[in-house]
């Protein structure tokens, strides 16, 4: 007590335990940053030979790395885009159902059910896609090509196995549903209850309440949730590798037996047999994938964080 009077600035005694403990937490925190940096650094170092590789080293008719990776990057973005096109409306629907339509008591259990989808390993989705989904949708594809073949995306000849870009997009959509749903659900639940009650009190129907209060409030959240889903779809490997019958071209048609493969699937299929510079080329395509997903994820996180700062809920 007396010391406190003499020295108004009290400083806690530095104990060795405190020192060691706080230092170890800082070290492991920084280790995470170091790991992320190491991922980028080692991939970059190992990819360097690919950028100057001989034209003969590339499979197909590519003569340099960028020609090789271009169609793969196209396939990655194209299938992920299609998957999002299907997944986002459904995910928003599910999120609304769980947050605003389902009976309160059931809502949490229903949320768990959707989360279970996220727990299924991707290789199982691959098996399911090829064993169940592809044979199931193939007859529909035949009809689509027959009736809507004039539409460029559905041009024939139809694939006989159903292992097409559209099937892959459906599988990817199922796989990214849980993450988009979970995030949008959280955002919808954060809508200030007063807004909702006010619009209901003014005589709005439930749907009008949602369009006026919930959706404007959650727009940024939906966008970033979709981008996180996009990141997941871009990097998905096994489901694509197993379901798609691949080729290395830029093809927009969805239902033919020639389908643009993705970077990740291409790596998984070719890595076990690759040797020499071939390994470096695959690593370099992995680096490209890493950069793409990193950018997508960073944009999504920046949007989420900005939203947090301005959110009226907290």
């Amino acid at each position: 007590m007396t010391t406190a009077v003499e020295r108004p600035t009290l400083k806690a005694k530095e104990r060795p335990g405190d020192r060691i403990f706080s230092t170890s937490t800082i070290v492991s925190g920084s280790l995470i940053l170091a790991i992320l940096a190491a991922v980028a650094a080692f991939l970059l170092v190992q990819s360097l030979p690919a950028f100057v590789a001989d034209p003969e080293e590339f499979k197909g008719d590519a003569t340099n790395f960028w020609q090789y990776v271009g169609p793969l990057a196209f396939g990655t973005l194209w299938s992920a885009f299609l998957a999002l096109l299907m997944a986002v409306p459904i995910a928003i629907g599910i999120a609304l159902f769980i947050s605003h339509y389902a009976p309160r008591k059931l809502a949490q259990g229903l949320g768990y059910l959707i989360d279970l989808l996220a727990a299924v390993p991707s290789v199982v989705f691959g098996l399911w896609g090829i064993g169940v989904l592809a044979p199931l949708v193939q007859p529909f594809y035949t009809n689509l090509v027959e009736w809507f073949g004039w539409f460029p995306l559905f041009a024939g000849p139809v694939s006989g196995t159903g292992r097409t870009t559209l099937t892959v997009a459906i599988v990817l959509a199922v796989m990214v549903l849980p993450i988009i749903t979970a995030l949008s659900r959280e955002i919808f639940l954060q809508t200030p209850v007063l807004y909702e009650e006010a619009s209901l009190a003014l005589g709005a129907t439930r749907w009008e309440m949602i369009t006026m209060a919930v959706l404007p409030f959650g727009r940024a959240g939906i966008i970033s949730a979709s981008m996180l889903g996009l990141g997941r779809a871009l990097g998905e490997t096994m489901a694509v590798a197993m379901v798609l019958s691949p080729s290395r071209d830029v093809i927009f048609q969805l239902l033919t037996s020639q389908n643009p493969t993705t970077i990740a699937a291409n790596i998984a299929l070719n890595f076990p047999e690759a040797n020499g510079v071939g390994v470096n080329i695959l690593l370099a395509t992995g680096l490209i994938l890493f950069v793409i997903t990193l950018v997508v994820n960073m944009i999504a996180r920046v949007i989420i964080n900005r939203r947090k700062a301005f959110s009226g809920a907290n």
């Binding site: 405190d18 768990y112 059910l113 390993p121 949602i210 871009l234 990097g235």
Partner: protein
């Protein structure tokens, strides 16, 4: 309410103004059943006329639901007006979206059970490896062991790092470093799993100067990269839930900060942390791509993480499917049985996590 009650006797012969212009309460259900019946009858006629083989139950439900959406909209439009009609249509669509999302889940679990059970139940599946097995027989013991070893090591590495980082973020972290860690942990959750595998390969092939390196420990490192962010996020959330009053009470008693964290904060949030760890294990245990790249595949047992290729369950499923021998069915059966094992493990981990969370979570408040 009191108003309607007092006026009700006099207004009895008139229609109730509160319910006029509204559809009866159960009309959506009735309309739904009616539309299923109508489309069902249509497909029944098709079947009788011989245009289709068998009764198309999927078509009935699908087109019946479409008919329902249209019917409820039109009905509500004429009785209740356009605003209410839109509301009913959206209610129908939102519910359909939910059911549509559940279909793949049920289909997937069902097919895995049906296709996987025969091989799953053969006694050799969990007692033998695939060594020298061509065609039927053999098992997945080597893959189960590999999965346990690799996931176990990954857990051992990532839990301390992840937990300490979470402690840093909640208890110590202020300023730029903490913000950077939070941001990049979030970004790291989005790293594609195959990139983690490529990283482990790039790292170890440089370290050991072996361009074709394959070993189990590398797989563990790849999984660690994927697991750490999940552990950090979940532990951080749990540590944040510990009320500040507990910490302040400990400080007031003169307990140093590190002991407060070890003896007060961690025990309080232990259940939540364990739950998070189990969920993060279930997240990485099904990863195929990174293990395919750095751990490779083999048909034999391998208990040594630092030598030779090591089989894991997801890779087992993939290779059984991808390299089918002459007896295709045997390989497919084993692939599905492996998938069933994986799903069981993941679901058990998830269920266990929820049970732990429910039983042991601290009873805060009253």
């Amino acid at each position: 309410m009191s108003l309607t009650r007092t006026t009700a006797p006099t207004a009895a012969p008139l229609t109730n103004s509160l319910t006029a212009g509204k559809l009866p309460r159960h009309s959506p259900l009735i309309v739904l059943l009616a539309s299923w019946l109508v489309t069902g009858a249509f497909f029944f006629v098709l079947m009788l006329s011989g245009a289709a083989e068998g009764f198309n139950i999927v078509g009935t439900l699908f087109f019946g639901t479409v008919v329902y959406c249209v019917a409820i909209f039109l009905l509500s439009y004429y009785v209740e007006g356009v605003r209410k009609a839109k509301d009913r249509l959206v209610t129908a669509l939102v519910t359909v979206a939910f059911v549509v999302a559940l279909l793949p889940l049920f289909s997937l679990v069902f097919t895995t059970l049906v296709n996987g059970l025969p091989a799953f139940l053969t006694p050799s599946f969990f007692t033998q490896s695939q060594r020298n097995v061509v065609g039927e027989g053999g098992g997945a013991l080597h893959a189960v062991i590999g999965t346990l070893l690799i996931t176990g090591v990954a857990t051992l590495i990532s839990v301390p790092i992840g937990l300490l980082s979470a402690i840093y973020l909640t208890e110590y972290g202020r300023g730029r470093l903490a913000r950077a860690i939070t941001f990049f942990v979030d970004v790291m959750t989005g790293i594609p799993s195959i990139v983690a595998g490529l990283f482990a390969f790039a790292l170890f092939s440089l370290l050991f100067n072996d361009p074709g390196i394959r070993f189990g420990f590398g797989g563990a490192i790849a999984l660690t990269v994927l697991m750490i962010p999940v552990v950090v996020r979940s532990s951080e959330e749990m540590l944040k839930l510990v009320p500040n009053e507990l910490r302040e009470a400990a400080y007031a008693l003169g307990v140093p900060k590190w002991l407060t964290i070890l003896k007060v904060v961690l025990p309080t949030s232990l259940a939540g942390i364990v739950t998070g760890i189990m969920i993060s294990i279930s997240r990485v245990i099904g990863e195929t791509a990174p293990l395919l790249i750095i751990s490779g595949f083999t048909a034999s047992m391998n208990y040594d993480l630092f030598n030779e290729r090591m089989m894991t369950l997801p890779v087992f499923v993939y290779t059984q499917y991808a390299n089918q021998g002459a007896d295709t069915q045997a390989y497919l059966d084993r692939a599905w049985a492996g998938a069933l094992t994986l799903i069981l493990i993941v679901m058990l981990l998830n269920l266990g996590a929820r049970v732990i969370a429910r039983i042991f979570s601290p009873k805060l408040g009253r």
